[in-house]
Symmetry: C2
Subunit: 225 residues, 2 copies
């Protein structure tokens, strides 16, 4: 055993979570990355996540299969619902029911087995204001629940849910990532990326990403099809 | 559409959750039952759950596969750890990391798609005092988090996590279940039931169950091997 402090990092393969992994690494954590195969359309993300994890020197990478598509209800998993180009006000149709809650719960299970006290997640309240499970009050409530749910919370030093991007704009995230050496060409953000990871350029996620590079004055090397 | 109020019921196939299903039904809910195939050793439970759901007249039954065994760390999923006959003080080795959190999160996802405002879970703080995620303060914290996590919580009438057995002894649960017509022969509680559901009679779960029937003065029809 060494003295490293362990952290579980939710790694989707997108721009945000790749930046979060770089942040955790820069803070000296031994990183355990986890991706979820939840029936999402944009499966190129999963391959991107595995590569990003490996190249970052993470200790271990896990892909957990969980069939959220079976429940239906989102454009990201339900093929009967089109991915919109511009979302209307309110909660977007790309919102996957309870997604962050399911993902954080599984990360919590792994963190308990590993003896990790920190879970990192790349949620963002600025660009994803329509998603209830991206808000600070949600993250705080999850952390409180997690500390009542687990051995570590009850007997140990407690558990932290870390959401370092929560108040950052996309441009700020990109600026920070560039400083930390994130290679954004390897990340996939598009809701309907093709099998090689090439982006559509028009969905909400592509639009936010493109604008972020522009505002950060960083060259956008994303491959658009 | 009829006027039924919908509820999602976590149904393991054991004594407690079968009673909870009967309670929800008696309260007029349209019941959607969900079981989890999480690599548990006692797989006869899953078959019991499907039968119990069907016979109760539940609207739908789902089995969600989620590989908690992949994380390790519990005698219930990890074959390298023996199921103990008598648990020592503290958190038992049969505790599965973050199990109820993972299960409730998935039930939350389904409830959101269904438009159900109630999730029923058969946790019990009396017999399972060693499990952190069976305590009332945990259930309250989960409910609070769930109401911040979801569309329904944010825009709708809110979500209730119902744990009607939480303060009941096993004997009280059995007494109530008998009144509601639960056929306990169909339930499987044993941590190491054989493929036909026959119980070992000596694990913690069998011991609690046997004692419950005795205290309730109800004949124990459990098949022991």
């Amino acid at each position: 055993m060494n003295d490293s402090k362990k952290a579980v990092i939710l790694l989707s393969g997108g721009l945000d979570s790749a930046t979060v992994l770089a942040i955790a690494k820069s803070q000296g954590y031994e990183c355990y990355t986890v991706s979820f195969d939840y029936g999402q359309r944009h499966r190129a993300e999963l391959e991107a996540a595995a590569k990003i994890s490996q190249e970052s020197g993470a200790k271990q990478h896990k892909v957990v299969a969980i069939n959220l598509a079976d429940f239906g209800g989102s454009a990201l998993t339900d093929k009967a619902i089109d991915v919109p180009i511009n979302s209307p006000e309110g909660i977007p149709i790309t919102y996957v029911p309870a997604r962050n809650t399911v993902f954080l719960s599984l990360a919590l299970a792994w963190s308990e087995v590993l003896g990790a006290n920190d879970i990192f997640i790349g949620v963002n309240a600025v660009d994803y204001s329509g998603y209830p499970d991206c808000r600070p009050e949600y993250i705080d409530a999850f952390e409180r629940m997690a500390n009542l749910a687990t051995k570590n919370g009850v007997e140990g030093v407690g558990l932290n849910i870390r959401a370092p991007l929560i108040h950052m704009s996309k441009a700020k995230i990109i600026e920070l990532g560039v400083i930390l050496g994130v290679d954004y060409r390897k990340t996939v953000s598009c809701y309907q990326a093709d099998e090689k990871g090439a982006a559509c350029g028009v969905c909400d996620s592509c639009r936010l990403r493109r604008q972020g590079f522009k505002e950060a004055c960083v060259e956008d090397m994303t491959v658009y099809r």
